[in-house]
């Protein structure tokens, strides 16, 4: 477990929305660009890593109760995506690293801080 704020600091992420959610605890993550795959496979509270930047990612994150979205590879959210994320209180974070590196670092961080929680 780590908070969003700790993850932002450790992975050098830029916070584009959800500045007030940095205390949210993150227990897991999911990586994917196919929205149906993310709908089926991700869990509540996950931090979702994707390259998609259009506004439907906010709907997916909101429907799945994700802790937030990391846009990998330095991708920036589209203007209407950012607007919607701010309105719905969904944190959007930008990583300059690839999705692979971002996921690896996040996994390392969350699993090393895990205390008695599996999966």
């Amino acid at each position: 477990m780590a908070t969003l704020g700790e993850i932002v600091a450790a992975l050098d992420l830029k916070v584009r929305s959800g500045e007030d959610k940095m205390g949210t605890e993150v227990h897991g993550g999911y990586t994917g660009d196919l929205l149906s795959d993310v709908m089926a496979g991700s869990k509540e509270g996950d931090l979702w890593i994707t390259r998609q930047t259009h506004q439907n990612i906010v709907a997916v994150a909101s429907l799945k109760d994700h802790a937030g979205i990391i846009l990998a590879g330095g991708a920036e959210p589209a203007a209407d995506t950012l607007e919607k994320a701010k309105r719905e209180g969904i944190p959007i974070l930008v990583s300059n690293r690839s999705a692979f590196e971002t996921a690896g670092m996040l996994f390392e961080m969350i699993s090393s801080q895990k205390t008695g929680r599996s999966g």
Binding site: L35, S36, M39, H54, V60, L63
Partner: protein, 151 residues
């Protein structure tokens, strides 16, 4: 087997075909409603997922459609009825990975051929009927009481 119960809540929502900007808004409304009704989290999440996939299908393939929501003390029923091209081969459409989505739809991360499979996998009852050139009708039930067998 319990007797069919009256609806605690019933409503329907319009979905515009082709409008990806607002896609997902009906699902968000329905999720908020179910949450407000204090249904179990698992039921809310599965209902939100099957509604979302149905909504995306209408946006992707139909001219327009309506999503009907009915909640009783035993189950949540969602029906998605659209006017559109319909599906010629339902068996093929149900195959994971099969999709007729355009490049534009795929670029946005839709059209992976998983939508109908997700709907089948996450609902307790699922029925799909379609008339080519007319439209498609999805009916999904998510049980609130796991022992309920009235559907």
């Amino acid at each position: 087997m319990s007797t069919p119960e009256a609806a605690l809540y019933e409503n329907s929502f319009f979905v515009e075909g082709g409008n990806f900007d607002t896609a997902g808004s009906v699902s968000s409304q329905i999720k908020a409603l179910l949450k407000h009704m204090r249904l179990p989290n698992d039921v809310v999440r599965r209902a939100a997922l099957v509604t979302y996939e149905s909504e995306i299908n209408i946006v992707s393939y139909a001219d327009h459609g309506r999503i009907y929501l009915k909640v009783t003390s035993d189950y949540v029923m969602i029906e998605a009825i659209d006017k559109g091209q319909g599906i010629a081969d339902i068996e093929l459409a149900m195959q994971e990975g099969y999709s007729t989505a355009t490049d534009k739809i795929r670029e946005m991360g839709f059209g992976a051929g998983m939508g109908l499979c997700n709907i089948r996998n996450f609902s307790d009852f699922f029925r799909i009927t379609s008339d080519v050139g007319k439209g498609t009708h999805l009916k999904m039930v998510i049980k609130i009481d796991k022992l309920f067998d009235g559907i």
